[in-house]
Symmetry: C2
Subunit: 342 residues, 2 copies
């Protein structure tokens, strides 16, 4: 009890009351002025602004939210290390601001679980949450959805309490497979996303497309990170069998990892093996040779998610406004794919 209470708050921040006192007006008036609400004389408005600036006054967002009974906050759970999520966040900020909402970010890291990330969002009294590529169980997501408007991004879940915004993964993988088949490839391997969100759908899309072409699907276990793509290729090489002529990775980082491993093994891309990613992260365009990939529009998905979240907030009645917002992916051909030479 002696060390603990050494940690008291620093110099008290200036409050609305401080400004009011200093300016010689009521707190209500200061409140009006700070919010830009009408009902204050120009003279007073001017004076309040001046004093506020002098005192370095910044409104306390918590107190404001507490009083207003609403936070105007959109909570966003995302994975820090996922480059694609960064693109999504940019879009979310933009769309939220345009709609008059603030954004609270809650990151998932190696040492910070999705549960924890969502928990802080709830404690912050967000009015809705956008969960980017959650790996949590359907049950837990549903429970969150039962508590407050919830939009799930980049993951398939069907539940009355959850809105989903995602790319048409099956379609995306079909595009990729068609492209490769068009180049003459027949031995096309899919390095999957293991337990990642969307992984199941992409596997299915791959399988379906392959079978449509009368080809035999071959799936090896991967993941969402570089290391997974790299290890998958290593496993493929160690397997002894002859290498596929094309690799379809779960996402761009996974594809990058695969490229890296192929290069280490002295295998030329795209001459000996073609590689396709998924996402079209801004990295894809700069990855040594430009990565051929399936683009999902992060900005568009972000806008859809924000719009959905807000519509859920604003008409709490609106029955089940839920349902999937599906974005159509597009193939972006760059340098990592070429005609089959074998």
């Amino acid at each position: 009890m002696t060390i603990e209470d050494a940690g008291t708050a620093p110099t008290r921040r200036t409050t609305l009351a401080d400004v009011a006192r200093q300016a010689g007006v009521s707190t209500a008036l200061v409140s009006l002025v700070m919010r830009g609400a009408p009902g204050a004389s120009p003279a007073n408005r001017e004076k309040v602004f001046r004093v506020a600036r002098e005192l370095g006054y910044v409104p306390d967002s918590r107190a404001r939210a507490l009083r207003q009974g609403r936070s105007q906050l959109l909570g966003v759970m995302f994975h820090v290390q996922q480059t694609f999520h960064a693109d999504v966040i940019e879009g979310i900020y933009e769309a939220a601001e345009a709609a008059g909402y603030d954004v609270v970010l809650s990151a998932v890291t190696d040492s910070r679980s999705e549960d924890k990330a969502i928990g802080t969002l709830l404690a912050d009294r967000c009015e809705a949450v956008i969960l980017v590529a959650p790996t949590s169980s359907r049950e837990w997501l549903a429970e969150v959805g039962g508590r407050l408007p919830t939009v799930v991004l980049v993951r398939h879940v069907r539940h009355p309490d959850l809105s989903v915004v995602r790319a048409a993964d099956v379609k995306g993988l079909a595009l990729a497979v068609d492209h490769l088949v068009g180049l003459g490839h027949t031995r096309i391997v899919h390095i999957d996303g293991a337990g990642s969100p969307s992984a199941e759908q992409r596997r299915r899309g791959y399988r379906t497309a392959m079978e449509r072409h009368g080809l035999t699907p071959q799936i090896v276990r991967g993941g969402w990170a570089e290391i997974n793509g790299s290890q998958a290729v290593d496993a493929l090489l160690a397997g002894g069998g002859d290498l596929p002529t094309a690799i379809l990775a779960f996402n761009d980082p996974c594809a990058m990892g695969a490229l890296s491993a192929l290069h280490r093994a002295g295998i030329a891309v795209p001459d000996e093996v073609s590689v396709v990613g998924f996402d079209d992260t801004h990295l894809a365009g700069f990855s040594h040779i430009g990565l051929t990939t399936v683009r999902q529009d992060a900005g568009l998905m972000a806008r859809l998610a924000v719009a959905r979240a807000i519509s859920l907030i604003e008409r709490s009645n609106g029955a089940d406004e839920h349902g999937d917002g599906v974005v159509v992916p597009a193939l972006v051909v760059r340098g990592t794919t070429g005609p089959c030479r074998r």
Copy 2:
């Protein structure tokens, strides 16, 4: 006034009082139990927990902070698109949690300025802020530092109101230059960080090291992103003069961009040109050929920053605890550097 007020808060969240009523006890009792404070009978404790769970009660962090007079919040401003910042954030979460503080993230994006990002942190009543690689003017940073404990990460600023945690950039570039010179290179170009934080110091480190070896420095304008490295190489190629034998990029993404441009131009790395980055982002190890780079320990810097921030919060007296926390960088040799062949 008709459309606006359609947006009222959704179904009211359950509060402490709801739990108290339902459990048939006082709100104070519930508060005790939820905080794990002593002073409640096991029976009551049990009952309160049960009811809280049933009602899905989550304490309101804002109300709590408001009442307590402190938020226990560490604000972090960072740039979403900077891969290195992601590594830092992981470390910050970990260190902050260990110290009993929460973290608020505030991202800088193309459409969201540093001013805005810092502004929300102030409005959230963070007790301290950690600014990761801020590009704002020294004056503005100092003003922030005057308001609340401020730790600046990965940028050089000297000011009585600012604590700085950074890598020894000059030393880092010396390591890189020495490495290249040791491989026989003499025509070493630095693609700089333009106006990025640390860019100035890295230029200086480069220049100093080159002169120490009796070599002529050549600096071309770059930046922190892939595109900058790529454009810098394009400019170099367009320049007509003969190419340098080695390139020292401002950071890893910049180096990746350079690699990409070199490849497009059909120039072999490291046979014709060696490339060195800076940061040792987790991407570096997977970038086609592993990128030789100067490592700055993100986790360590994060821990230092958090420790500094907390120490500033807790002894508001402590005179000037400010001063630089300098981390020693290390060279990580991978595949993009090799002996000079020209």
